[in-house]
């Protein structure tokens, strides 16, 4: 078996004295889509923040491309090829749509994603490229957030609740673009409340419960009963 792209080994995470993650082990192979599901407060967002370097962890707890990056700060993690689409989008409000995308690509990592390719993926953004990012609809803002992350040409794209606050039709539209992103060579970790959507998009699923992995398996073989048991801890 080839070495995984991302390998978490007994990852713990803390907010001050509060421990949010307990010994998480998780791996993502190149070209794979991994979904992380779980109830509110299960530690899904915390997990992504650890991988992206927003929350520092033990040096050896996170291996990316075989190298330990647990204590690498966020700005250097991006340079290595991990991009995070943060929960709630968090666009830069004083920047236009295009400027938001450009700043995502400011490190100049080589790869297929440039402005024109992002506009090809999300044609709606091209029309509104000079608009302030705050004037966009929620769905368009989410497209900017995804495009901004793609502009760094990540090997691994982390998506935190891209369906949050969006209409189901918009969510379906966003998920319909994921195969194009995979096709350009990025692997994906998606954190999702919408289990149906997550199972449809993912190869494998991890279910978190109170900071621990409660269930893991291939998206095709997990039964609904097993998932709800892991989800609610009943």
């Amino acid at each position: 078996m080839p070495e995984p792209l991302l390998d978490l080994r007994a990852l713990d995470a803390f907010y001050g004295d509060f421990q949010a993650l307990f010994g998480i082990s998780l791996d993502v192979a190149a070209g794979e889509v991994v979904a992380v599901i779980g109830a509110n407060g299960a530690g899904k967002s915390t997990l992504l923040k650890c991988i992206a370097g927003v929350i520092a962890s033990r040096h050896e707890a996170i291996l990316f491309d075989g190298e330990p990056i647990g204590d690498v700060p966020a700005h250097a993690v991006v340079a290595r090829g991990i991009a995070l689409v943060p929960e709630g989008r968090h666009l830069f409000s004083s920047l236009s749509v295009e400027e938001n995308l450009l700043i995502g690509g400011q490190l100049g990592r080589p790869g297929p994603w440039r402005l024109s390719r992002v506009y090809e993926l999300f044609p709606a953004l091209c029309e509104r490229r000079h608009a302030p990012s705050t004037l966009l609809s929620g769905g368009e803002q989410q497209m900017v957030a995804i495009g901004r992350a793609l502009m760094s040409n990540p090997k691994l794209l982390l998506c935190d609740e891209i369906s949050l606050g969006l209409a189901p039709i918009v969510v379906r539209e966003l998920y319909a673009r994921l195969p194009s992103i995979l096709a350009e060579g990025s692997s994906l970790v998606i954190v999702e409340q919408d289990i149906v959507q997550a199972l449809k998009a993912a190869n494998r699923v991890y279910c978190l419960q109170e900071g621990r992995v409660a269930l893991t398996g291939s998206a095709a073989t997990l039964t609904r009963e097993a998932i709800s048991a892991a989800y609610f801890g009943v």
Partner: protein, 335 residues
Amino acid sequence: MRVREWSNRLSTAHSRASVKPVYRSESNGSEQRHETTAPGILKNEIAMEWINIIIQGVLIGGLYAMFAAGLALIFGVMRLVNIAHGDLIVLAAYIALMTSDTLGLNPLLAIIVVVPIMAAIGYGLQRALLNRTLGDDVLPPLLVTFGLSVIIQNALLEFFTADSRRLRAGAIEVASFPLMEGVWIGVLPLLQFVVAVVVIGALQVLFYRTAFGRAFRATSDDQSVAQLMGLDNRHVFALAMALSLAIVAVAGVFIAVRTNFDPAIGPARLIFGFEAVIIGGLGSMWGTLAGGIILGVSQAIGAQINPGWQLLAGHLAFLLVLALRPEGLFPKVKG
């Protein structure tokens, strides 16, 4: 200290851009003609005088805008209120003095040396000291820059004594040309104003048209998300401080050529800078320029009414704007 500064300003204002009384050129006319036209001439003379005062105010306003631009930049990017800003201006003036003394450079050319030195000091200061004070609490950076202000003042006092100094720029100091009948413009104040406009314009372009400025604005919007874009806050902040002190260097050289300076004049420059920022608002660099000009003109008008009212008039204009438009004349547009 204040009295000496004023008298110096007043005397330079008179020597560089004196109102050439109109009646002198016409005094070869007959007694009869002089008498009939006297009230008109007098009115004309008063008008000339006020035009002159306002022009002088506008020109000094450019200098205030340069004080303010550095402050606004730092506050905008990292929410840091730099109490030591005025003392850094004075430090730049002393570095210019040393440079022009040791290298025998014209002070205005010394800018070329002082700007990179101050920028390097800014970068180092931010990386080594100020970055450590930034966080959710606004008090630590305020206290640290206040301490820095005291340290710079005392270090300057130790090295350069309390003697008042001045940079000699040669003939350009007193050169002037007539703008129109009765209104003369000093070359140096005009040069200083033009440099200020160029600096402000360059900052505006840098902020809104370049990748550098994009990084500043993104970091200002959301520090933690900016890091996800690969921007290292500590480096971005240090670049902003370097840029701020590069502007301070230009302002410091001009202030050193224009007026006498000593280690204690920094805090007053800080106040002028603050007032110009608040009058102008944080929306655009041009607002900062407008703020500087309004402050300069108010001070010039105040000084004309009564020499003791120069600073008071500036403070009143500031208070007026603060009371009527607390977000400034060119506020930041909220998204």
